[in-house]
Point group: C2
Chain length 333, copies 2
Amino acid sequence: MGVSETVAKPLDRLAATLGDDMAAVNTLIRDRMASRHAPRIPEVTAHLVEAGGKRLRPLLTLAAARMLGYEGPYHVHLAATVEFIHTATLLHDDVVDESSQRRGRPTANLLWDNKSSVLVGDYLFSRSFQLMVETGNLRVLDILANASATISEGEVLQLTAAQDLATDEAIYLQVVRGKTAALFSAATEVGGVIAGAPEAQVKALYAYGDALGIAFQIVDDLLDYTGTAETIGKNVGDDFRERKLTLPVIKAVAKASAEERAFWVRTIEKGDQQDGDLAQAMAIMNRHAALEAARADALDWAAKARDALAPLPDNALRGMLSDLAGFVVARVA
Amino acid sequence: MGVSETVAKPLDRLAATLGDDMAAVNTLIRDRMASRHAPRIPEVTAHLVEAGGKRLRPLLTLAAARMLGYEGPYHVHLAATVEFIHTATLLHDDVVDESSQRRGRPTANLLWDNKSSVLVGDYLFSRSFQLMVETGNLRVLDILANASATISEGEVLQLTAAQDLATDEAIYLQVVRGKTAALFSAATEVGGVIAGAPEAQVKALYAYGDALGIAFQIVDDLLDYTGTAETIGKNVGDDFRERKLTLPVIKAVAKASAEERAFWVRTIEKGDQQDGDLAQAMAIMNRHAALEAARADALDWAAKARDALAPLPDNALRGMLSDLAGFVVARVA
């Protein structure tokens, strides 16, 4: 979802602690992404599913279920479900990003055509649906169906909100919940539900995933302006060049003078960008402490994520999830 | 799914008989395709969902449930589910078809960009998922999850099978089951399941939908060569120009002389088409009675659909479904 996953140490500890579960998830993923009839499918998905990803979302599901003492088999199905949904949205994002190449975006690293991305994404989504039905748990299905609707609604909202200076922080939050936080919160919540946790703990897991996802996305948006190409794996300023209304820009627009507003109208709404505009955007954002304010919001959401864990059992896995919230924002703290 | 829905009279009788149910389906569809947050969504879907479609698939679900005496509310949810899945696949097909414009296909009548088609399709798919979860019936969820996987697998298979003369009738059937019959058979089967029908009747409904869908698609493929632009709503020969290996071509390729094979390799595999090639293709197909053989297959599948209804209660709705099977093939009979 456009999020560069550079979360490291606490995630490695989770991966080590949940190593057997994660091996089962990987086996299940490989098994279910195979297609007897359409060999194109594993070719396309292998690239995405096998290569590189930190498996953050499935680890969240496994950690939530195991933290609450779950001993059944279905946390593995749900973790694979969440990773399939994530991979399907990445494939469809490829198509959306490819379209934006027409507006001057740097070449996306696509190996396949639009057709394959759309149809294999649909395939993975339907496979995720089969996996969750296998759990036989209607509440889990309800949570994941609602998360799916929130994700796709957020993606469409982002289409219409993009390049529109009327986009405010409330709309931004809605987009971020859709593009990132809805799958984080569903990942943690279904882990609690499958473990049969009491309602207060299920709610706590939802709140943790929601806040973690929002912190994660704000950090990603910030690093697009303040990071380096090496650390963020893409060019600094890509969001500006793609005319994305991310949180720092929204905060600066809210405080803009008439002259500054004209700058944002030209560069973001009209897309008429010249050499030096990125530096100018940075100067305006610094003038209003917009990057600093967005950073404070990210830290707030990370604190909310940590606080949300209070009703959960005080064990090693809870500690790792708490550390994970700190780590997500450590790059901008 | 590329199927021109010119099924008429028996469908009108079904629509009249199930008028109250269909009104409830339409209300539910309008309600669920709305989005509080993303007004783009109803704009895009209204065009597809409101305009023109004969609602064949939801009528199949309603007819199956009512034929078996169902009095609950969930046949309406399932009918809306099936229509949403159908609409989502149409939206994604738009994207796939748009790509093939690059290979010389006549302009698709697209109102929106790829992004909207992909993301709104995803939205409708997730809404369909919510609707089916509301039925609380795990078997229904299992059937629809499997149908979704078959549909997307069939679409990917079609990508790889297209323009490949090695595509035989078995692969064709697989593609047709994916692109058309899987949703027909799921539509009828879930109607029976929600009605709590005995296993033999559920199987009968599946077999009816499967055979009806296959007959429907073969007729569509035939009319692409033998119909008129007025009756099929597109240009005669489009499949040939798009290098699609449909049943008549597959049958002709199987009997091709060396010279004929060279013709198919040039026009279908290599896509090097010249004036007069469509007439030449027709001549070759006629030489081997390929259109006649495909027509016989369509009639066979329609007869299978009718025969499949035997275990079901002998009532007016069953009569309409039986007539529907005859009507689907009447255009080529």
